[in-house]
Symmetry: D3
Subunit: 67 residues, 6 copies
């Protein structure tokens, strides 16, 4: 504990994910006073056809904006 | 909020997912009185070898039925 | 399958939840062609001090609006 | 998106949670270049009798340490 | 890793949860060859009015059976 | 119910997953007295660049050990 699960868009670079995991772990260490080793983080990538908002799949919302 | 996460079998068509996301969002709007923009939906696809029921991976349960 | 998990604000009435569960199940039956019995739905309630957006706990965002 | 779900021990103060949510949101803004408004965070509290590690409920692991 | 999250009905005794956590951890050690310390397990309790199946909240399904 | 979600490293063989799903289901039957048919299990595979611990992506932690 704590265990963090993140739902995000795919396509983040290794460098972006590396930096995010470092910063989130630091946030727990600073705010909760836990050891870095106690923080586990999972990243879930959702394709544009596998998530939606406001009743639209993201692939369709994108198409609407571009069209 | 609300945020909806759905565990499902893979292979649903874009049209099926489009319709599902629309209908679930409508359900929140009608039943909870929230705005469509507040509803986010994630679809997780699980291969037949990555989920099970009754002690059997689905890939084996399928084989049993077909066999 | 499918299994649906919903993160929501607390305080929804039994009638609201009853209607939502019915409508979401119907959405799967209509859009995916699955049987109603195959649809399981979980509702998770998050207090205003246990979720946040835009860097603010909801309890603080509310206070800001009201203040 | 992104949506963050955190499994943690209960008993964190409002101030601790406020600081954590702020810092995690900042992490996404800095590392991923997203807007703060796009980041939603959920905190799940697990009592000592509702989580375990190494085969022991935490309530028992604590007792073992103290005993 | 692995991290296990369990959605269950409330009301399980401490003894039942203790036994379950032990057995599930053993399952990972035996089947995956991981160390017990690497296995973390979370138990989520869902009230009868916060989960449903086949379009019915469990509280209503129960009432239907009893009625 | 119960529904079990497992976050794990990829690369487990079908035989390992088959055995795990069987043993975890047995754990519920023995400890909770539920029927095997009521237990559903989902396996989520996380690549080494999609999970981290102690502030490091696993891909980097591995490199550090090997280097």
């Amino acid at each position: 504990m704590p265990v963090v699960t993140i739902a995000q868009s795919p396509g983040r670079s290794l460098e972006q994910k590396r930096e995010l995991v470092k910063k989130i772990t630091d946030a727990f260490v600073t705010s909760y006073g836990v050891k870095p080793e106690s923080v586990t983080i999972f990243l879930q990538d959702y394709d544009d056809s596998n998530w939606g908002k406001a009743g639209l799949l993201h692939v369709d919302a994108q198409a609407g904006k571009d069209g």
